[in-house]
């Protein structure tokens, strides 16, 4: 951890217990990790292992029941402006054009949208490959393009940290792979700290610098594994033997837990 850039995200023994009608439900137990500045970290685990809970704690949407969650060295007490979220579904406003959807966070936060904001939206839409689609309605776009709008919306306020909650899981397999490469391209053009939640082993390995493998009931970190692949990564990486072996290692970890 170099001195100029303290850890973007740091968890220290974070636990989360939800009160439900059928009694307390432990979602996370003793979760500790740190994410460096502009690092791309994937959180990999089975459904219901508390991955989304972890993301919502970083986003400041829920407070951990125990332990400490810090963003840029400050305890997370409420949502921050420098954290952007991309959700599993694009959840766009069906009545608003692509551009209006992208500037929506500013309209929603401040009540007004200026010329500069629209220029910025145009620029970001170009980055995510949606130039020329500004006036379209979400309904007129494919699932992959809708999720690009979702990513553009999260990038608008130029957040230092990008939280992505299984952003490509609703897409078909081919689009999903294509969007993975797209994300790497965007991330290289606009470096950010990314926390990418997924239950796809190959997606995690292809995208991330490091994979946090999670077990369930309650959610905990089985292994904090650096990805032994160089960048830039591309289609060739998907057939790389190192990638294959590493993915196999992660699969063994996850399946051993499940068995």
């Amino acid at each position: 951890m170099d001195a100029a850039h303290p850890a973007s995200i740091r968890f220290d023994g974070v636990g989360q217990v939800f009160e439900t009608d059928s009694g307390p439900l432990e979602a996370l137990r003793g979760v500790s990790f740190a994410v460096r500045h502009h690092e791309f970290v994937a959180v990999l685990g089975p459904s219901g292992c508390g991955k989304s809970t972890l993301l919502r704690i970083i986003a400041g949407l829920i407070a951990p029941t125990s332990g400490a969650a810090e963003v840029f060295g400050m305890p997370v007490t409420r949502p921050r402006d420098d954290v952007g979220i991309v959700f599993q579904k694009p959840t766009l406003l069906p009545w608003a054009s692509v551009e209006d959807n992208v500037v929506f966070p500013i309209r929603h936060k401040t009540g007004r949208v200026g010329r500069a904001d629209r220029d910025k939206a145009q620029e970001i839409l170009a980055t995510v490959g949606l130039r020329g689609f500004e006036t379209r309605l979400p309904d007129e776009l494919s699932g992959g393009m809708q999720q690009r709008v979702g990513i553009a919306r999260a990038l608008l306020m130029d957040p230092d940290i990008l939280l992505m909650d299984e952003p490509f899981s609703a897409l078909d397999a081919l689009t999903r792979e294509e969007m993975g490469f797209e994300l790497l391209r965007i991330w290289e053009a606009r470096p950010k700290t990314v926390l990418f939640i997924t239950h796809s082993i190959s997606e995690a390995v292809l995208l991330a610098d490091r994979v946090l493998v999670m077990g369930d009931r309650p959610g905990w970190i089985i292994e904090d594994a650096p990805v032994p692949l160089s960048r830039p990564r591309g289609i060739a990486t998907t057939t790389d033997k190192v990638m294959h072996d590493f993915a196999g290692h992660l699969r063994t970890l996850l399946l051993k837990r499940a068995a």
């Binding site: 009545w95 009540g111 494919s142 393009m145």
Partner: protein
């Protein structure tokens, strides 16, 4: 959400579409249709108009063939003469009286229902305190309460508006509240993550997302508003289409009563279509997607 549509400019090579054998082509792709289909079935409105015309013809001839007395069932031509028993001015007085009560009651209903629905969905206290009372009000047959309301509030426009309001507001409240709660959770989280004021969460996210629900209720309520106005006129009025129907029936002037009924149905239809038109013009995205 369609998953295929226009392709992104960045994704250059799309996989080629598999060639479909000609034999499996959909039947709708046939080049020619019969003359009947092209002139009658396809143009909108022609088929329903023909059906309506057929009913009139059968009605007219049945009354003549079976010599049905006009107090049992007047023929369409006799009903048409019913229009002549009143001057155009009198007709418009009756129409306006009913329309006025229906529209005022409807407007008040909307003004009360929307804020009430917001309050019900925002506050558990308001919800627990008011919801049972709303259900009780809705469970009370308005027709049964109408005479009481007339006695309490007198014979002016006010009691009729109250009756109309009582009959129209419940569907609006329930449907709007359902719509306000049907917002995708992610957008609410987005709003929270932006630390936006709650009122903006309501105006920019929750209310727009409730539009399909609100319009579903607005369409039900506009026809209920006409019913409310007529019920009120049945109890006590000196004007209005409901009054006209009741009065002419009691005088055994059945063609006149049927004519009044016809005008009432037409009024309901026009009001309903107007609400649909507002939705189509201002909120086209909220309409159900066409299949296919």
């Amino acid at each position: 959400m369609t998953s295929q549509a226009t392709s992104a400019p960045s994704s250059s090579s799309a996989p080629p579409e598999p060639v479909r054998p000609a034999a499996t082509a959909a039947p709708s792709a046939r080049p020619t249709r019969s003359l009947f289909w092209r002139l009658v079935v396809r143009p909108p409105g022609v088929l329903p108009a023909l059906t309506f015309l057929a009913i009139l013809v059968i009605w007219e001839s049945s009354v003549a063939i079976f010599s049905i007395p006009s107090y049992v069932l007047p023929s369409p031509s006799r009903i048409a003469t019913g229009f002549d028993s009143l001057t155009t001015q009198r007709w418009f007085q009756h129409i306006w009286a009913t329309l006025q009560v229906a529209l005022i009651g409807y407007a008040i209903s909307i003004l009360v229902a929307l804020p009430l629905a917001i309050a019900l969905t925002r506050s558990e206290v308001v919800n627990k305190a008011l919801y049972p009372i709303l259900v009780v009000i809705q469970s009370t047959p308005v027709v049964a309460v109408a005479p009481i309301i007339i006695v309490v509030l007198g014979s002016g426009v006010a009691p009729r508006v109250v009756i109309t309001f009582l009959i129209t507001f419940f569907p609006l409240v329930v449907s709007t509240a359902t719509g306000l709660l049907a917002t995708p959770r992610e957008l609410i989280e987005l709003s929270k993550s932006l630390r936006a004021p709650v009122w903006r969460e309501i105006t920019q996210i929750r209310l727009p997302f409730a539009i399909p629900y609100i319009f579903a209720a607005l369409k039900i309520s506009i026809t209920l508003a006409v019913i409310g106005a007529v019920v009120a006129e049945f109890v006590a009025a000196e004007r209005g289409l409901g009054f006209l129907i009741q009065f002419s029936t009691s005088m055994f002037r059945l063609p006149e009563a049927w004519a009044g009924l016809g005008v009432l149905v037409l009024m309901s239809l026009i009001l309903f279509q107007s609400v649909s038109l507002v939705q189509r013009l201002f909120f086209p995205w909220s309409l159900p997607k066409k299949g296919g």
